[in-house]
Amino acid sequence: MSNYFSPFVLPFLFGVIALIVICLIKYIRWYKQFDRLQKTILLKNIFSLRFLSAIWETVMEALFHRKIFKRNFLLGYMHASIALGWFLLIVVGAIESELALETDKPFWIGIFYRYFIHDPQAFPNAHFFAHLMDFILLIVLSGVILAYVKSVFSRFFGMKKTSKHVVFDRFAKFSLWLIFPLRLISESFTAALYNNGGFLTQGLGDLINYSVADILEIPAWTLYSFALGTFFVAMPFSRYMHIFTEVILIFLRKWGLSENENVSGFTMYELSACSRCGICIDNCPLYKDLKLQGVQSIYFLRDLRYKRPKEEIADNCLMCMRCMAECPVGLDLMTIRRQLRNKKELDTNDNYKYIDNLQSFNSIGRVIYFAGCMSHLTPGIIDAMLTIFDKVDQKYWFMDKDKTICCGRPLMQQGFTIQASELRRKNTQLIKQSGANMLITSCPICYQSFKKEYNLPIQVMHHTEYIHMLIKSGKLKVRKDDLKVVYHDPCELGRACGIYQQPRQILKTISTLLKTKNEKENSLCCGYNLGNTVIEPEQQGEIRNAALGSLIAKNPDVIATACPMCKKAFKRATNCNVKDIAELVKENMIL
């Protein structure tokens, strides 16, 4: 038995062992739930050098919380001070014990160092370490105080729905809040007795009566140990599971894993990596504009983690990706949502028998133009594109002019994955047979589908990319108009595919482009995204009006967009001109 043992260490020891065992069981179970492909990818990459960048990311995100800092300084400070501070307490405590002791060094010694090592000069510079440890503790305490304040105020945000599983959250949270104040008190008592504290603990210790300290020292350390033990046992069942899981997730991602069509072990890691910071709530249009609660990603993931997902919540999401752009853990929230929409078992395949009669068209030397179903409802866009093709003498096959099928993405969004893959199969066949070398589409929904869900051997462009290329190469000559224009980034083109520059460059060439409040990743959804099948048209209108308000704030002459859906949404509600970039380019072509 070590010299450095006291019965009060037991709760801590028990907690650590429980924590390790439970985490291992969970992680191994989730690993087993990986599908075969995920396992192969993992094994292929696990011994590559990618772990270096994973370590870097771990430090930046899991310790410094860089992304949260960027969004919200206070929140970032809160997370970083606790995470990084605690980490340093452990590391510096370990160094301290390493320096002070020779052979008998049980692993808990760093945690209870001051109780066991009374000599303030146990090793050279021991004083410095005492001050350093106090300083770190002070930082952690400041974070804990912030967390406390935030919790009192975020009650008003409805972030705490009581439920039996969240009981673990409560245990974990209260014990976490107690750990560091208790450590402060225990160390101060010991300092009062042995003068071995740093500036903080000794400062407090000097205020404490010797005999009081003598009586309360052991109870205080016992409580500290209990707080630690409770936290460790509750942690794997609470949201604090994110502390370890986030790190593992960073590694898994670096090794090439990602979500796939179904809930898998990877999904389980993602669910537990959510720290329920709540950043996704404030930016969700359903909350911001409609005050709907309980449907946001934070709630959705929580329900899913505790195995009580609700179908209507899975469906009640615009899939605008606003939350994904904000999520500090970078969770693939859209795919997880889709996994739960899976309606594979519904047999509607008979509806797709007709597609086998569709014929391809010999398009060697041509491009394919795929307008998209939505563009057929905004014929102005199609008209503009066909005019532009003629203008630059580009021969094309208008693939979905007449008899045609959809790209499949709207079905996918709703969870009809088999049906969607039927459509993709047929479209791929038609495109390959045609011999064309490029596909241009006017609809960001189709664009995302062709780009990410198909595996086409030819180049896929959205028409803004194509037009930008034409203008840049000098093939298409345009003039500058004196119109003031604002640009609305469509969700599916911007956040989903990262096309931000080309539309802006085109607009700068043909008009005066005004800045708006919500640009690029922060662009607001027009509300008519096909993702949501639950909300009512009036509610879509509310979301649209919010986006519209931010666009027309500077009184532009034209609202330009690059998506037929957004165009239709805005056109219904404003007298301001709403045009697709293609239409504006057509109007400004030099003949």
């Binding site: 057929h376 014929p379 199609i382 239709k568 219904r572």
Partner: protein, 343 residues
């Protein structure tokens, strides 16, 4: 005698002006366009009796030649305020007029078909609205975009009405019968042209409407298809190709046509919307709201402020005129009571 301001010289405004004037009330009639009856000028014939619209315009305008009526054309009323017991009516140039009562007859305007881009209005020349067709009939110039006589004309009902997506859930009430009227007139002028009407359901509610509908089929061979057109596109020879579903047969359907006529619905006019808003009498869809649709259908929550005609809801001319006459009676009661009080 007391003064009454009437805002809008459409059928409702003129009819009320003439009745009140005959009762020795002094009427100030304001019209924002340069001509009275701005919504009637390009109409050819009127349902249900196919009387020339010009006749009605002439007869109504004649009623305005009355000592007691002062007509202000080109005068848009932008604000109306209560001023003690009186009312203050203010025009766009800032002139104000003090009157004892106000009658709002600022009428309707039609749905802007460009808002339903999928139907191609403003993009393809072959897509026109019922207003455009009314003019073509009036001047006997029914032509497609190439200047040729159309071989086929397709009408589409309920454009901007009964349509959640365009925000108008109500039925505009007069476009079904207007389509029947226009179809018959097209056939009278161009007997060899095929005419199709695409409808959700046909609402032949008024006197002799049903007979007109039957006649259009039996005598004029107009074809009716139940189904909504989802989109229009242009063909290489500048015709219009429509896609629809025949909901009786349950089959999708495609058709090419020389002209596609959109039967645009009636919305509250811009004047109606703004005045109803400032006067706190805004009802559904921006129309003006009466106190009670049975017993006080010309009165409003504001004492001395009355409403009549299509600024309340979509209606045809005979209903509009009857409504104007009923408003006049109520206004006379109001003025007489005021004069009693003054004594």
């Amino acid at each position: 005698m007391k003064k009454v301001a009437i805002i809008g010289a459409g059928p409702a405004g003129i009819e009320a002006a003439s009745i009140l004037a005959n009762q020795q009330v002094e009427v100030l009639l304001f019209e924002k366009s340069l001509n009275t009856l701005s919504n009637m000028l390009d109409k050819a014939y009127l349902f249900p009796d196919f009387s020339p619209a010009n006749d009605l315009v002439d007869k109504l305008n004649k009623k305005l030649l009355h000592q007691q009526i002062t007509l202000f054309t080109g005068t848009e009323i932008t604000d109306v305020k209560k001023d003690g017991k009186e009312w203050k009516v203010i025009d766009a140039k800032g002139m104000s007029y003090i009157v004892s009562a106000v009658l709002l007859t600022s009428g309707y305007s039609v749905f802007d078909a460009k808002r339903k881009e999928e139907l191609g209005y403003g993009i393809y020349n072959g897509v026109i609205t019922s207003i455009d067709l009314e003019k073509m009939i009036k001047y006997n110039q029914i032509e497609n975009s190439m200047g040729d006589k159309p071989k086929r004309i397709v009408f589409l009902q309920c454009v901007g009405s009964r349509d959640e997506k365009s925000g108008n859930n109500y039925c505009s009430k007069i476009c079904c019968v207007t389509a029947v009227k226009q179809a018959i007139e097209v056939k009278k002028l161009l007997p060899d042209t095929d005419v199709y009407i695409f409808y959700m359901d046909l609402r032949m509610w008024g006197q002799s409407f049903e007979e007109m509908y039957r006649e259009s089929q039996e005598k004029y061979d107009v074809s009716y298809v139940r189904g909504r057109i989802s989109e229009a596109a242009s063909t290489f020879d500048k015709k219009i190709q429509i896609k629809a579903e025949d909901t009786l047969l349950g089959v999708p359907l495609k058709m090419t046509t020389d002209l596609l006529v959109l039967m645009v619905g009636m919305e509250a006019s811009c004047g109606t919307k703004t005045l109803a808003e400032t006067l706190h009498i805004k009802g559904e869809y921006g129309f003006a709201k009466s106190l009670n649709c049975h017993l006080q259908d010309n009165e409003t929550t504001q004492q001395g402020l009355f409403i009549a005609g299509s600024c309340k809801r979509p209606m045809g001319i005979n209903e509009t005129l009857a409504d104007a006459r009923s408003a006049s009676v109520i206004i006379m009661d109001y003025i007489n009571a005021m004069q009693e009080n003054d004594k």
